[in-house]
Symmetry: none
Subunit: 200 residues, 2 copies
């Protein structure tokens, strides 16, 4: 497979950008306006190149015109959403960056990546600066390490213990103490499924 030209890459990026929004797939004419082009014929060449490269699939003609649907955006790249610390909310990046993640560090369900700041989980082998892969879901089993939103404000990475009428978040650092909350004060935002660290 030959490499993409810069323009083809731009078209692909735009398609992937629009894919996340719950909007209908754009038409050729719509893409032209988004790219500032005035000729559908020119854009058609780029799209055909993307189809030939297996990066995009055309949709059958149903509602007036053929529309393009972008494919699964590269299975081993996940969105990198920002940093997480004990006691601070997530510093979310405005635009989603991505990070490539080995398949065995993630699950088949939607996942995302955070970078840990702080040593609240150091005894569990999660150090300051590590990257963690989080499976996005809103419930967890006891003993799992979760991303928890407390009081709608703070987001933290802790091991969870759920009892009737009480939720306890346990750090893995002897210098820190467990904290208990009412179940309605804790919202689970994901469960730890993988971890990575670079030594440099």
């Amino acid at each position: 497979m030959t490499r993409l030209t810069p323009r083809q890459q731009a078209v692909l990026d735009l398609l992937r950008e629009r894919a996340t929004e719950s909007a209908p797939p754009p038409t050729l004419t719509g893409l032209c306006r988004l790219l500032g082009l005035r000729s559908r014929g020119s854009l058609h060449k780029h799209v055909q190149a993307l189809i030939a490269a297996g990066l995009v699939e055309p949709l059958d003609r149903q509602h007036g015109g053929i529309r393009l649907i972008p494919p699964a955006p590269a299975p081993d790249t996940l969105p990198f959403l920002g940093k997480i610390a004990a006691g601070r909310p997530i510093d979310a990046f405005p635009q989603a960056e991505t990070m490539t993640v080995p398949p065995h560090l993630r699950t088949a369900r939607p996942c995302y990546v955070l970078q840990v700041t702080g040593d609240s989980m150091c005894e569990a082998g999660i150090l300051d600066g590590d990257f963690v892969v989080i499976e996005h879901r809103d419930s967890a089993r006891n003993g799992e390490i979760v991303v928890a939103l407390i009081h709608g404000e703070e987001t933290t990475l802790k091991r969870i213990k759920q009892e009737p009428g009480r939720v306890t978040l346990l750090p893995a650092n002897q210098a820190l103490l467990p904290a208990s909350f009412a179940p309605e004060d804790v919202a689970i935002q994901g469960v730890l499924v993988g971890q990575m660290r670079a030594y440099r």
Copy 2:
């Protein structure tokens, strides 16, 4: 192979610098501007010398947007050589399996992947079952975590401390003790550059 001229080395350095960024490979004209040159023809000679030396590869798309890609563009699959433990040699797989590794967990030099068994490095955040990315080289700086072959028999993962006439391997587990050897009894097989863990 003849030596590189100073100018060729400068071009190579610049290409390697730009390689880490996720930007598209530069064009000849772009490189000219970066180097302060006004003639693509002159730069072309240097690039051809680098290609002849096998240090750089041109892209296959001929005529019309050929760009230069620096060598060893870090394929994201590395050989997975087996398991490593404190006190046992590497259980090498007969045929090399491979594992995909994110680019930021490895270096530009040759690397491979091992799986850790045992808890001898647990206080450094490396637990039983973790995967470690090792850069293949035969020397290390003090304080780095290395794969060391002892007496030509046992292979272990430890933090290294090299003194005149003595090499000490320090585990990161209070239950274990450091071990000192003569320099000729310890062969460094690689240095830790990355680590991964799957929770499942």
